[in-house]
């Protein structure tokens, strides 16, 4: 089910992207960057620097005021809402800081949902979900409800959900921000495993230690603008 590699190698490409809300300075100003296939890139910056805005634009959850956003070879800034939703379901997996699981669905149903929305067959989707739950080490909780799980377990469910359609790109917004240290380390290790298997990953964080531990490259945002050149982090 894994998608084919993107010709030219860039999974993400932003050119001159600006995002302005109703009043005040732009949340993002003339940002240009790219992420190659198989990379792990950390997006860092203080609160209000535009990190989440950047993630939302890459995920197609929001639209830029100016500039272009290309993900997996497709211009997503010009897509309609239906096309964006389809695109997200198939090409982008999102992991949120506060998990954003649906409390009235079981763990398994939460993981299945993106596959069902993307039109996958029931059998295929269930097999994939079971595979991911086992890989995340939480298959024994598949009939439980999220409220009964620990933070780390919930984040594993969220990661499994994000991967069910084998997207080219995995976006993680502060994936360890709501976890204790031990759980955070486990999640970080999990993300590193995924990247080692070829998953392209963009990680938004304000934690330099997290960025240093898991990302090969860091992009810094300050007041909506890129600050300094990309840094290669030694392995």
């Amino acid at each position: 089910m894994r998608q084919q590699p993107i010709p030219g190698g860039d999974v993400i490409r932003l050119d001159g992207v600006t995002k302005t809300y109703q009043a005040g300075p732009p949340a993002l100003a003339d940002v240009s960057m790219s992420v190659a296939a198989g990379e792990v890139v950390a997006v860092m910056g203080p609160s209000g620097s535009g990190k989440s805005t950047l993630l939302n634009l890459i995920a197609g959850l929001d639209r830029p005021t100016a500039g272009t956003v290309t993900v997996a070879g497709r211009r997503i800034d010009t897509m309609g809402e239906s096309a964006l939703a389809r695109f997200r379901a198939r090409h982008v997996g999102i992991v949120f800081q506060f998990f954003n699981l649906l409390d009235d669905l079981t763990v398994e149903d939460n993981v299945l949902l993106p596959a069902q929305l993307a039109g996958a067959s029931r059998k295929q989707a269930r097999a994939r979900a079971d595979e991911l739950l086992e890989r995340m080490g939480i298959e024994q909780h598949k009939n439980a409800y999220p409220a009964r799980l620990s933070g780390g377990q919930r984040q594993r469910v969220a990661i499994a959900r994000a991967l069910v359609n084998s997207p080219e790109l995995l976006l993680a917004d502060e994936p360890t921000g709501a976890l204790d240290t031990a759980s955070g380390l486990q999640i970080g290790a999990l993300l590193r495993e995924l990247n080692a298997a070829g998953q392209t990953l963009v990680l938004v964080t304000h934690d330099p230690a997290l960025a240093g531990r898991y990302a090969a490259r860091t992009v810094r945002l300050v007041d909506g603008q890129l600050a300094g050149a990309d840094l290669e982090v030694p392995a």
Binding site: D62, A85, R86, N100, D104, L105, D109, Q116, L117
Partner: protein, 791 residues
């Protein structure tokens, strides 16, 4: 800083939460308007004739005098008689035969009055102006008392409108009268009014000049007192001066007969509207407060006292509620103008106004309801700690609806549909309220359709509009007062009918009063000079007579005589007793007993003087209007006979219009209730909706899911509404029949064949979809990032 300053700040102003304020205002507007209208209708149906008679200073007795037999002084002296409390007149009057649009319009009694007002019989002008020049006439807007139970009075040809011209036949010059207005005399003292000077030229040559005097008496409460009053007038005038007298009791009888019939369905709709208004307002307002719990908790955490929090939220709900209620009262009164105009016509009173107390009650009631609905949750929020209020304001308690989601998943429905159908179980109380609102709305719609069908069948049956599209009556251009058709003219009718290729059936109808032991008043007997089975009177019990010696009767006959279908009776025709057997009971609502048979069974009835009309049935495909024109052309301008269409029955038309309006209002209120529920749920779950979007749910899928939130309750509501509406229709028609002192054929309530009922039940889904589409659209269009940021 004052105690209220932080409240003003915390409230954020009325524009801060526009959507919620608009929904609250709209719901209160529709509910208050419904309540105002409901109270107005209930008041209007409460002894309308009595109120109108008092307001219009109705005439207890209308005396017609031969002006040649009594001098003006003698007439004026009657005002001073001991029992007379007020008098008006004498007003010259003329009885004319009129045509409208070339078609016979009927016999009219026209009185000459300089103005509509007066100490007695204050005529209410409903349209146009009072005659102020020759050649003008104001017509009585409400038809005269029902004649022998046949509909609402004769309607000969097209109904005139303002500006129409009536031609008076049988007088030199055939004067024309332009209709300049419509008015109502509570006791129908005349069919129309002209200027006093006009009357003389409207009298046919040789007819005595007559005038009418109108009296109110100290004692006129029952027939005996009225007879005594008339006798007093008679004694005060020269012999032969009094040509006739009409009593207010007959007018009351006719008015309350038809009007009382409306009471059951008016009350039914008024109650449905009021109960639903209470339900929806309660749900909307309490929901608005509960939705603000999280914010209430935040406000408390920054220092607002519980009392300040309660006041802040009551004012936030109260401001749009007050706007909605005030606007609703205005709208309700505006709607009442049109509705009460119709009901006043049905009740045969001049005019009805919405009572002031109805507006006050609706306003106060809705505001009190709003306060009650808001106070409970607001007080609870005030008592909660900040942390508890914040927690209570979040998504529904965990554990609700889980089984529904699992079941939906197992059913293998498309995911958005399954998610939507399962969602209502997470908020059972809110779901129940929505279900109830939809059920009420759907019940009202289905009931309205059924009632309309039932009343249409009753109208067609009573007025024979379907089976007898053409009637010939002796109100033709050659007719005149005290003139009857002769044998040759009668024979010409038969020849004219036989000459028309469109004639399928025709039968002569003879009518006269007969006597039956046990019934104090006369029995109105109709004898048919041929096969009349095709006329298809509505059969309540038994069957139409099909053998000699058999008759059919109406319900009043059986009630007054104590007889039943199958019994024999001795009818006295003139002085001859005739034994008949009651074959069936027919639907002909009337306060007078009626009997139907053949001329063979009722010998002595079939005389020229008793020949009342001809019923004509047409071949399929024959145009009734073309047929009428052809027959009238064949009969010619000198014939006393004229063909006309049947009277559709104004009462039934008015009732149908009222039913439609009331059902529409109830359905709109139900739709608003659904709108509010889906809106509240969308707000509750906006973060979840953002998650769905982030995971790839398309706008169309989102819309489907949100609409499905209400689809399940709507289906259940339909299942409840269908039998409820059927039962309500049966009960209401039964109550209306009971008020009209008549039985009804079973077919009047069998108006819901399964296919039709199933189709009408879709009203529940239509109401639900109409209410859900707007918020569903908003949810579908919302940006995922915006939804995810919301909590």
């Amino acid at each position: 800083m004052s105690w209220f300053s932080p409240i003003r700040t915390a409230t954020g102003g009325p524009l801060r939460h526009k959507m919620q304020a608009v929904v609250i205002a709209m719901v209160l507007l529709v509910s208050t308007a419904s309540a105002t209208l409901g109270f107005a209708l209930l008041a209007a149906s409460n002894t309308p004739f009595t109120h109108a008679f008092s307001a219009q200073r109705g005439a207890d007795v209308t005396v017609t005098v031969n002006a040649a037999r009594a001098s003006s002084a003698q007439l004026a002296a009657t005002r001073a008689l001991g029992g007379v409390t007020a008098a008006a007149g004498p007003f010259a009057e003329a009885t004319v035969q009129a045509q409208s649009g070339g078609q016979p319009f009927g016999q009219l009694v026209l009185a000459g009055r300089a103005s509509p007002g007066g100490a007695v019989d204050d005529v209410v002008l409903n349209a146009g102006h009072w005659p102020d020049a020759p050649g003008q006439v104001v017509l009585d807007a409400s038809p005269g008392p029902a004649q022998d139970g046949q509909g609402d009075g004769p309607s000969q040809g097209g109904e005139p409108k303002l500006g129409s011209t009536l031609s008076v036949t049988g007088v030199p010059g055939a004067p024309a009268l332009t209709v300049v207005g419509f008015a109502n005399s509570i006791t129908n003292t005349a069919d129309g009014w002209v200027t006093p000077g006009e009357v003389a030229r409207l009298r046919a040559a040789g007819t005595p000049s007559s005038a009418q005097l109108l009296y109110r008496f100290a004692q006129a409460g029952d027939p005996a007192q009225v007879r005594a009053d008339v006798a007093e007038i008679n004694r005060a005038l020269p012999p032969g001066a009094v040509a006739g007298a009409g009593s207010w009791l007959a007018a009351e009888d006719a008015a309350t007969g038809n009007g009382a019939i409306m009471d059951p369905f008016v009350v039914a709709f008024a109650l449905i509207g009021l109960v639903m208004a209470v339900l929806i307002v309660g749900n909307v307002v309490s929901g608005a407060v509960v939705a603000g719990y999280h914010r209430i908790g935040v406000l408390k955490s920054i220092g607002l006292t519980p009392a300040q929090v309660v006041v802040a939220y009551l004012s936030r709900v109260g401001a749009p509620a007050l706007v909605g209620c005030l606007t609703g009262v205005v709208l309700g009164n505006l709607l009442a103008i049109s509705v009460l105009a119709k009901s006043s016509a049905a009740y045969r009173v001049g005019s009805q106004q919405a009572p002031w107390w109805g507006s006050v009650a609706a306003l106060a009631g809705m505001l009190a309801l709003t306060a009650l609905a808001a106070l409970g949750p607001a007080l609870r929020a005030g008592r909660l700690s900040a942390a508890e209020a914040i927690a209570a304001g979040r998504a529904p308690r965990a554990g609700r609806g889980y089984a529904a989601y699992r079941l939906a998943n197992r059913l293998r429905l498309p995911r958005p549909i399954g998610l939507g159908l399962a969602a209502p179980f997470a908020r059972p109380a809110r779901t129940l309220v929505s279900l109830a609102a939809i059920a009420f709305g759907a019940t009202a719609v289905i009931f309205a359709f059924g009632l309309h069908s039932s009343l249409s069948r009753a109208a067609a049956s009573q007025n024979l509009t379907t089976t007898v599209p053409v009637q010939l009556q002796p109100f033709g251009p050659g007719a005149g007062p005290q003139q009857f058709p002769d044998a040759a003219q009668d024979a010409a009718v038969t020849a004219a009918l036989r000459a028309q290729p469109g004639t399928r059936h025709d039968v002569a109808v003879y009518e006269d009063q007969v006597k039956l032991p046990g019934i104090a008043q006369g029995v109105n007997a109709q004898a048919f000079g041929g096969d009349a089975s095709w006329v298809d009177y509505g059969i309540i019990a038994g069957h139409w007579y099909d053998a000699a010696g058999q008759v059919d009767v109406n319900t009043d006959f059986l009630t007054q005589s104590g007889l039943a279908v199958g019994d024999t009776a001795t009818v006295v025709i003139g002085t001859d007793p005739v034994t008949v057997r009651i074959a069936g009971e027919v639907f002909q609502p009337s306060r007078q007993p009626m009997l139907f048979g053949s001329v063979q069974t009722l010998p002595g009835l079939a005389t020229a003087a008793n020949l009342q009309e001809y019923y004509v049935g047409l071949r399929a495909g024959t145009s009734a209007s073309a047929y009428i024109r052809a027959v009238n052309a064949r009969l010619g301008s000198r014939s006393p006979w004229a063909a006309t269409g049947p009277d559709g029955g104004q009462f039934y038309q008015i009732a149908s219009a009222l039913i439609g309006l009331l059902a529409l209002m109830v359905a709109i209120a139900a739709g608003l209730g659904v709108l509010n529920t889906v809106l509240m749920t969308t707000r509750d779950r906006v973060h979840d909706l953002g998650i769905f979007k982030a995971l790839g749910m398309r706008p169309g899928q989102m819309l489907t899911m949100v609409v499905c939130w209400i689809a399940g309750p709507a289906v259940i509501a339909a299942v409840i509404a269908a039998p409820a509406a059927v039962a309500l229709n049966t009960a209401t028609i039964g109550a209306m029949a009971g008020t009209a002192h008549t039985g009804i054929p079973a077919s009047f309530t069998q108006v819901f064949p399964p296919s039709r009922l199933a189709l009408l039940s879709l009203a529940a889904l239509v109401i639900a979809a109409a209410g859900a589409l707007l918020p569903a659209g908003w949810a579908a269009r919302a940006r995922p990032a915006t939804a995810l940021r919301a909590e």
